[in-house]
Amino acid sequence: MSRECPRSLPGRLLLVVPAVVLFGYRPAAAATLSLREDVPDLEVHGFVSQGFLLTSANDYLAKSSRGSFEFSEAGLNFTLPATDRLRLGLQLFSRRLGPTGDYRAVLDWYYLDYRWRDWLGVRAGRVKLPFGLYNDISDTDTARTAVLLPQSIYPTQNRDFLLAQTGMEIYGYAGLGSAGGLDYSLYGGTIFLDVRPQPGSALTILDLDVPFVVGARVLWGPPVDGLRLGGSVQVLRLDTDLLVPGASGSVTVRIPATLWVASAEYAHRDLLLAAEYSRWLVKTESSNPAVIPEGSTISERAYALASYRVSPWLQAGAYYSLLFPNVDHRTGRESVQHDVALTLRFDVESYWLIKVEGHYMHGTAGLSSTLNGNRPLSALVPDWALFVVKTTAYF
């Protein structure tokens, strides 16, 4: 079994260090550390976030129906531009989001990056998965307007599966003259997953592995300022051994998955428009089909968003996000999730922001049965609202 735990650090230390830097020195930019005269400066960046979740009905991400502060994040990263071609970096990350995270600090990413030419660079280590427009920045609250990215394509509860892989990435940027430029990356490796107790779940996970993940992303910047069009594909397999009540011995399950997304983004001055459409094909292969049935499902996911910076201190954003977990079953509250979100982001200082966000939800497909007392999704309230407040300090 592969585990990230050995790299775990005392999470509360990670929460404290950026806070001390932020509130002790009021930085407007990164901290820069000079190690030795003949060694380039080390750049240090960090953030601390605290959020609050409240739902009108149903528990979402945390025990939100009674209001939850279990929405904390902290990160601290170090980047050393060793030469003009070679860069080293790592980020420590700790979070608590309802039942996930537990404030344990893990190495979120670390890499050695050699950029030989603009059109060819190589990263090795644990690197963010370039999937869609925003997967690789889904932790970066400071880089977007919304608190929650559209959850149909960027589900925050799937962060362990979708955020980073350990392996290699080949990337580059090629100017195409009058046709614009092409940003591309190709990657392959594995995802180390941590097996944790699943309170309330009938299944016991004995082992969990991702033997491979491969994928690619291509973003074309046509000769129109701020426009990006592209597509991403990701193929992976999840292998697990389960103990199922009533079954003798463990059941081995293989879950191959193919994910793709088509993306479009337009950014001009203070305006950002984006839309993405995605389908995820997930198969289930079981050593005991009588207990864990085999099959395949295709889910459909899409969103459209707009955000506008009204002034240097205020941004407004809105999006509509749609999820069908199974395209062959589109009826019933448990088979769909419509999400209409409205956000205000206040940049109080150059190192501190506050966001207020409201969601109107129709459907329960984005909810967790386990988090809702193991009630089936078809029994949860179909029309509900989510209110989120989040503040982030960063440098």
């Binding site: 960046h45 953030f47 980020q91 950029r115 880089a143 009204v310 002034s311």
Partner: protein, 140 residues
């Protein structure tokens, strides 16, 4: 209804001082840099660090003015087609995903000194700043 009204009031209040005042700027490079003039798109890619090398393979070292500089606002809007705050968001994305670091941010005189002392450097300064031997290049 009340929330909607509050939302509209906030938008209206915030939209009054929308941007920093504009100021003209000049783009400067080291005197030995052979590039006679620069394409605006090349300049965009250099300052967003998508293009990292001059045609002769020297690393491009862009340097920005500070975020409160009116010349920075003009440069961002006219060359990058983004507001200063949007450029800042772009760099937040790069920093926290491990994909790169922003150019240093300096005052006018310090930008001139940086350009003169770093091979491959390129910067811009408020028009009228003494460039002390740095070469002003046209942008088209």
């Amino acid at each position: 209804m009340r929330i909607g009204a509050l939302f509209l009031v906030l938008l209206a209040a915030a939209s009054v001082p929308a941007e920093l005042p504009r100021s003209t700027y000049v783009v400067i490079v080291r005197p030995e840099n052979p590039v006679p003039k620069l394409d605006r798109r090349f300049l965009t890619e250099a300052f967003l660090r998508r293009t990292t090398r001059w045609p002769d393979d020297t690393p491009i070292r862009p340097v920005d003015l500070g975020p409160d500089s009116p010349a920075r606002a003009s440069f961002s809007q006219e060359i990058l087609a983004l507001s200063v705050a949007s450029v800042r968001n772009y760099w937040q994305q790069r920093i926290f995903s491990g994909q790169g670091l922003p150019p240093p941010e300096l005052a006018d005189d310090a930008v001139v000194s940086y350009v003169l002392s770093h091979p491959g450097a390129i910067g811009y300064v408020t028009a009228g700043t003494r460039v002390k031997g740095a070469r002003v290049v046209d942008v088209h």
